[in-house]
């Protein structure tokens, strides 16, 4: 499927995943069939990070990814039948997903693996590196809200452009996971991990803010973007990743088109600098639009003049 001598971490991950989930063979063959060298190098780097985070429980990650694909099929069926996400309130998501540590661990493990098994997730990380991190001015005070598995935050620690690093999450357990992941990936820089609800954010000033796969978990995403606008310096840059038509057990806010995401960012007082739309399974964008398929929508923005 891939040349394991050139991409050893990816090769090892593929072998492990297929030993536990052999039914995924044809999908993964298609997923990497047209991948160019740059994409494979990125997938190999992400695989190495996943391997470091997993340490001695890689098999658990593979099992949980397999479980997650089943969960997502169930959510997809609901979405296709009803045209909406199953949940619409944070209270429901908390009751059915967030309070269950066993469920949450499986869910987070499965999502971690998806960073390399899903085209759109791998491409999103590539875009984040090249179009956001590599274009930050030096000495940026960097904030990530909702760092999750810590991959994006790790990449921020690897650039000198980020002078200071802060991450906020509403969940103490999630912050513990992020801290452990950063340690497993070998981060030695100081990263402030603080427990805050975005709606009760303290005063602060940041030059770069990352808000990746959080908007869809909120009942009032526009309000959250307004908060980020206040926290971002006038010359600062915002990175947003929000999925469109992407049912999941804890997704609340349904964006039906990439343009809805872009418009919301603009409405919150930002000028959009760059966008990328990466459809699920690597299908062409036109097909994704025609059939209301999932599209990872990425936006880099700066504060509007006078906003």
């Amino acid at each position: 499927m891939i040349d394991s001598s050139r991409y050893p971490a990816l090769g090892k991950l593929l072998d492990g995943q297929l030993s536990i989930f052999p039914e995924h063979q044809s999908y993964l063959e298609r997923r990497f069939a047209d991948a160019d060298q740059a994409h494979l190098e990125l997938a190999d780097q992400i695989s190495d990070l996943i391997t470091r985070i997993a340490h001695d429980h890689l098999d658990e990650i593979f099992e949980d990814y397999k479980w997650l694909t089943g969960v997502f099929v169930e959510e997809e069926v609901y979405f296709r039948r009803n045209g909406t996400y199953r949940l619409s309130s944070f209270e429901d998501a908390e009751r059915t997903v967030y309070v269950d540590p066993v469920y949450m661990r499986k869910y987070m493990n499965g999502l971690l693996a998806s960073e390399v098994w899903w085209h759109n997730h791998t491409n999103a990380i590539g875009f984040y590196k090249e179009t956001f991190l590599d274009c930050l001015p030096g000495s940026s005070r960097h904030l990530e809200v909702g760092p999750g598995h810590g991959l994006l935050l790790y990449l921020a620690t690897q650039t000198e452009r980020c002078k200071s690093l802060t991450a906020w999450d509403v969940s103490a357990a999630s912050l513990t996971n992020t801290r452990e992941a950063l340690s497993a990936m070998g981060v030695e820089r100081d990263v402030k991990l603080e427990q805050y609800n975005i709606y009760d954010a303290p005063d602060g000033e940041f030059d770069s803010i990352v808000f990746s796969e959080v908007l869809e978990h909120l009942e009032q995403p526009l309000e959250a973007l307004h908060v980020l606008r206040k926290l971002l310096t006038q010359d600062g840059r915002l990175y947003v990743h929000a999925p469109v038509n992407s049912p999941a057990p804890d997704h609340l806010y349904l964006f039906r088109t990439p343009e809805e995401v872009v418009s919301m960012v603009e409405e919150a007082g930002f000028d959009v600098v760059e966008t990328r739309f990466y459809p699920i399974l690597g299908v062409p964008l036109e097909r994704a639009r025609a059939f209301d398929l999932g599209i990872s929508t990425l936006v880099v923005a700066t504060p509007s003049e006078g906003a």
Partner: protein, 81 residues
Amino acid sequence: MNRIGILAQLEGLIRDLFDEYQGPVTEDLSAHDVEQWDSLGNVQFVVLIEKTMDVRFSTEEMASLSNLGELMTLIERKKSL
């Protein structure tokens, strides 16, 4: 609706949904023959059938069908209930 009519309806859905597939649509056709017929495509296909033919499938039924012929038999059974 007879079996020929069901197959004709399914062919219409397949041609729309899996538009890259140019081969014949017969009772032997399966997801292995159609590149776009992946797990997500399968959900889309089955829910489209539900909406156009007024039937309902369980998740287990969705996952267990091995070819169009089996799907047609299941539709016939559900329509006759």
